[in-house]
């Protein structure tokens, strides 16, 4: 017998009518969320006119891929599968419910034939079971919470919504079972048939059906109305936040315009960075509102993992609480500490794992910008590095290296306007840190061996990246503008970088200031030379593990080129955490100049690298090389860390410094 709408129910249309105010309450709840988010600063992107509601550019593709399909959620298999069961199960049940409504309103024949058997009965029963399974997992997990959920604190409200949803599913099954018990079993409805046959007595089936139908209907209405006021609002906010998220990998800090500070007529000067909630943009407010406090970010954070005060979850949770309480003007720095804010290595591991596309590093960096540029506060060593960068154009205060020592007795061509094709950008670390000199020397020999037209600048330079990462956008802007002007005068168009921080600056920030170049990281350039057979390398049996620099990998998506280069000279062995899950060396975000508390990050990473038993640890970043060289010393006196250029240089036939 085909299902009949409102079978055994009188006045069932009441539920349908109540759905109208419930829908309005649902919309009103979302409107309140928007009212909160709207209190954030408008986002102004001069080059982009389509800034939706002052939040940013909405990308439907990201909304669907990152927000709805959300592959990141499955990186934790157990909770990922549970989320998948609940989300996709509910999605199917939502479709089923709407088909029932269409059947009532327009007589859509959904309760007949194979469709009824395989979708309306079997699939929806299966969906209900999946949802129920997911809910049982979530309820158990709330009882036995992992640290990431409860540190620094757990979000409340999940037990109520999970229980409510569980009751909805169970009552749904009971309704089906009672209906089938009073009628005949239905092909495909395996849960309903089981309950009808084994649990529900035929004598009370009609009564149970009626009562449960009303309970289920009213609870469902309450549940829908409650969604925007509960943590479940993330089913709306998370995909929306993903839709507004920056499509490029890693953190994109943008560049700041300081012209207003020089303008005598400027009425109001913009706040630099953020000190209070009101200083953040609507997009950041959306981040805070979307956060589920799941703690995946702090679990991936190198600072948190090594007992430092920073918890990216703690930062976002603090702001989320202030947002919910409407505390817009209170200084947040009183809650967060300066030490925590400067612990961030800007490695972007947190945002990489965040299932709701929150940009934690950008929020942390905004606090850092405020501390440095508005309050002149920063840890002492970072302060010395910034001062040195300002005074000497490099941050390596107290260096024992002269500007030209890295290339002593090595003939290195200078870049000549109109003659040289590539600028080999040396950068500050290779110039001023003795251990890094050999990266520059090796790259020069590689380029010479491949007969590449290249040259270096007369004087040593820094891109300004350390200033930017330590929060001093003003100093970065000054240095970058000077470089751009000089590059223009020299007609530089193509740049080879050996430092991913420089690469990141040239590709992410310089274009916004008028510096457009073709920039190639040295690992990618070497790979091209190998692929084009311009470099002949002697491959050997050495095993090499590769540490992905955060600014090359997570921030710029360069994972394969260095691995291919390694494969051309030896045997690659992967570390447990690699590619986008790589663990930072500890030197990013200016923390090369930090006095660490807790376990040293570079030692943790070096231990992981040595755990592979590889003959060598390859890196493609001078800062990573310096950090890991130091980290390895905890375990062995042997030199194990090398830049990829050093490894390749050793495999050049008849290698001899020119």
């Amino acid at each position: 017998m085909a299902r009949i709408p409102y079978w055994n129910i009188s006045y069932g249309v009441i539920i349908d009518l109540l759905a109208i105010p419930v829908f309005l309450i649902f919309v009103y709840g979302l409107y309140l969320q928007w009212q909160l988010i709207k209190k954030g600063q408008l986002r102004v992107i001069p080059s982009i006119t389509k800034v939706f509601q002052g939040i940013g550019t909405f990308r439907p593709g990201a909304f669907f891929m990152r927000g709805i399909l959300n592959p990141k959620i499955y990186r934790k298999p157990a909770s990922g599968v549970a989320h998948g069961c609940v989300f996709w199960g509910m999605a199917l049940l939502f479709v089923g419910t709407n088909l029932v409504i269409l059947n009532i309103l327009f007589g859509l024949p959904v309760f007949t034939g194979a469709f009824n058997r395989w979708f309306m009965s079997f699939t929806l029963d299966l969906a209900g079971l999946l949802v129920l399974g997911g809910i049982v997992f979530f309820l158990l997990r709330r009882q036995f919470m992992p640290d990431r959920l409860k540190i620094p604190e757990a979000r409340t409200g999940f037990v109520l919504v999970s229980s409510l949803l569980g009751v909805l599913i169970i009552t749904g099954f009971v309704i089906e079972g009672a209906r089938l018990c009073a009628n005949t079993p239905e092909a495909g409805a395996f849960v309903g048939n089981f309950l009808a046959a084994s649990v529900i007595s035929q004598t009370s089936a009609l009564q149970i059906h009626t009562m449960t139908w009303w309970v289920h209907g009213l609870l469902a209405l309450f549940f829908v109305a409650y969604i925007p006021f509960s943590p479940l609002v993330h089913i709306i906010l998370a995909p929306v936040n993903s839709g507004f998220a920056d499509p490029s990998p890693g953190v994109k800090m943008g560049v700041m315009d300081f012209s207003a500070f020089d303008d005598e007529d400027a009425e109001e000067l913009p706040a630099l960075g953020a000190d209070k909630l009101a200083d953040f943009t609507r997009k950041r407010f959306l981040d805070f509102a979307s956060c589920l406090w799941c703690g995946r970010c702090q679990e991936a954070c190198p600072a948190h993992n090594t007992q430092k005060p920073l918890s990216p979850k703690g930062v976002i949770v603090t702001l989320a609480q202030k947002l919910a309480a409407g505390e817009m003007e209170d200084s947040v720095m009183e809650t967060l500490s300066m030490e925590a804010i400067f612990n961030c290595t800007t490695c972007a591991a947190c945002m990489e794992v965040c299932p709701v596309s929150i940009n934690q590093p950008k929020t942390i960096m905004r606090f850092r910008q405020n501390l440095v540029m508005e309050q002149g506060q920063m840890p002492e060593l970072m302060g010395k590095a910034i001062t040195s960068l300002e005074q000497r154009s490099h941050p390596f205060f107290g260096t024992g290296s002269g500007a030209a020592e890295w290339r002593k007795d090595l003939e290195v061509p200078k870049f000549e306007a109109g003659k040289t094709e590539y600028l080999l950008w040396i950068g500050c670390s290779i110039t001023y840190e003795q251990r890094a000199w050999t990266i520059g020397r090796a790259m020069v020999n590689i380029l010479k061996s491949a007969h590449v037209s290249f040259g270096i600048l007369e004087d040593s330079r820094c891109t300004g990246d350390p200033a930017k990462q330590m929060g001093n956008e003003f100093l970065f802007a000054e240095i970058a503008q000077q470089n751009i002007d000089d590059f223009s005068a020299l007609g530089i168009q193509k740049i080879i970088t050996m430092c991913p921080h420089c690469y990141n600056s040239f590709t992410r920030h310089y274009p916004k200031m008028g510096g457009q170049y073709e920039v190639i990281p040295h690992a990618s350039f070497i790979r091209t030379l190998v692929d084009d057979k311009k470099l002949q390398l002697d491959r050997n049996a050495q095993t090499i593990t590769y540490h992905d620099p955060c600014y090359l990998g997570r921030r710029n998506g360069v994972y394969d080129d260095p691995r291919n280069v390694i494969a051309s000279v030896g045997n690659l062995v992967e570390m447990p955490r690699n590619k986008n899950e790589s663990f930072c060396c500890g030197g990013g975000g200016g923390n090369y100049w930090a006095e660490e508390t807790g376990t040293r990050i570079n030692q943790a990473r070096a231990g992981e690298a040595l755990g592979t038993d590889a003959d060598a640890i390859a890196v493609a970043c001078p800062f990573c090389l310096l950090m890991l060289t130091d980290g390895v010393k905890k375990y062995t006196e042997e030199i194990k860390a090398f830049d990829i250029a050093e490894i390749v240089e050793k495999c050049l036939p008849d290698m001899a410094e020119g």
């Binding site: 300081f258 540029m373 002149g376 506060q377 002492e380 910034i386 000497r392 002269g402 500007a403 020592e405």
Partner: protein, 251 residues
């Protein structure tokens, strides 16, 4: 109350010895120029004192027009104005004479702070000579300053201890480096604000030279001599190293 802080723009004081070279008997022009490190300690001390006492603070320098861009950092740190006496002499007495001119130009200076020694000449004598010229009290190597009634209480920090002193009237204090006077990083607003603060330029005078003639200037040649310390374990190696360094009078 009016505090004056002396600051001198010098060549980079951190140029590695391997890279250091002379030009006309002075550090090569290619080296970056900046305020001396002790001078920044003095400015920081002055700003803290200014904040405590509600004083005004003026930066005084003897040097070139082109030094103003580097001295602006001191203004951005918290000074109210800058007085530059233009001149190029390296003679300590001439420098002191020119600074005295700036102090007299200001007229109402109550306290003068200076770095304990300049980062280029390393003499540490200008503040003393200036004090003598002004008939003021002079205390070298000062770490802490307090204003109490009509008196100044200062702590002189030496390698062997701390001495508390007090004086009335005008004083010239040369400031040493202590954890409390690590130079602040100027905020961006202050950097822009410093561009708008007044800069007074005075023509220097070239008189009162000491009876001295510079015959030559040399810098040490860098030699690298490697000696391996033969030891069974790190503790023994450290003991041997310490004893060798003491023998060679490095420590």
């Amino acid at each position: 109350m009016h505090i004056a802080v002396l600051a001198k723009v010098v060549p980079d004081y951190e140029v590695p010895s391997m890279d250091f070279e002379l030009s006309n008997g002075r550090a090569h022009e290619r080296f970056s120029r900046m305020m001396g490190l002790y001078d920044e300690n003095a400015i920081e001390t002055g700003i803290q004192l200014k904040d405590k006492t509600g004083s005004s603070l003026t930066l005084i320098s003897y040097g070139l027009d082109s030094d103003v861009q580097f001295l602006r950092k001191g203004v951005a740190m918290g000074a109210d104005k800058l007085v530059l006496v233009k001149g190029t002499s390296d003679d300590a007495a001439v420098i002191a004479q020119n600074i005295k001119q700036a102090v007299e130009h200001l007229g109402d200076v109550d306290l003068i702070l200076a770095g304990q020694q300049s980062a280029d000449m390393d003499r540490g004598v200008v503040p003393g000579i200036l004090a003598q010229m002004l008939g003021a009290a002079f205390v070298p190597q000062v770490g802490y300053i307090e204003s109490a009634a009509d008196q100044w209480k200062v702590s002189q920090m030496t390698a062997t201890g701390r001495r508390e002193l007090e004086f009335n009237g005008l004083g010239v204090l040369s400031i040493t480096s202590i954890p409390e006077n690590v130079p602040r990083i100027p905020a961006v607003r202050a950097i822009f604000g410093a561009k708008k603060k007044p800069v007074v330029k005075l023509d220097g005078i070239d008189q009162g030279k000491m009876a001295l003639a510079e015959i030559s200037v040399e810098i040490p040649k860098i030699e690298s001599v490697c000696e391996f310390i033969d030891a069974e374990d790190p503790n023994e190696a450290v003991k041997t190293l310490l004893s060798r360094l003491t023998e060679e009078r490095y420590i």
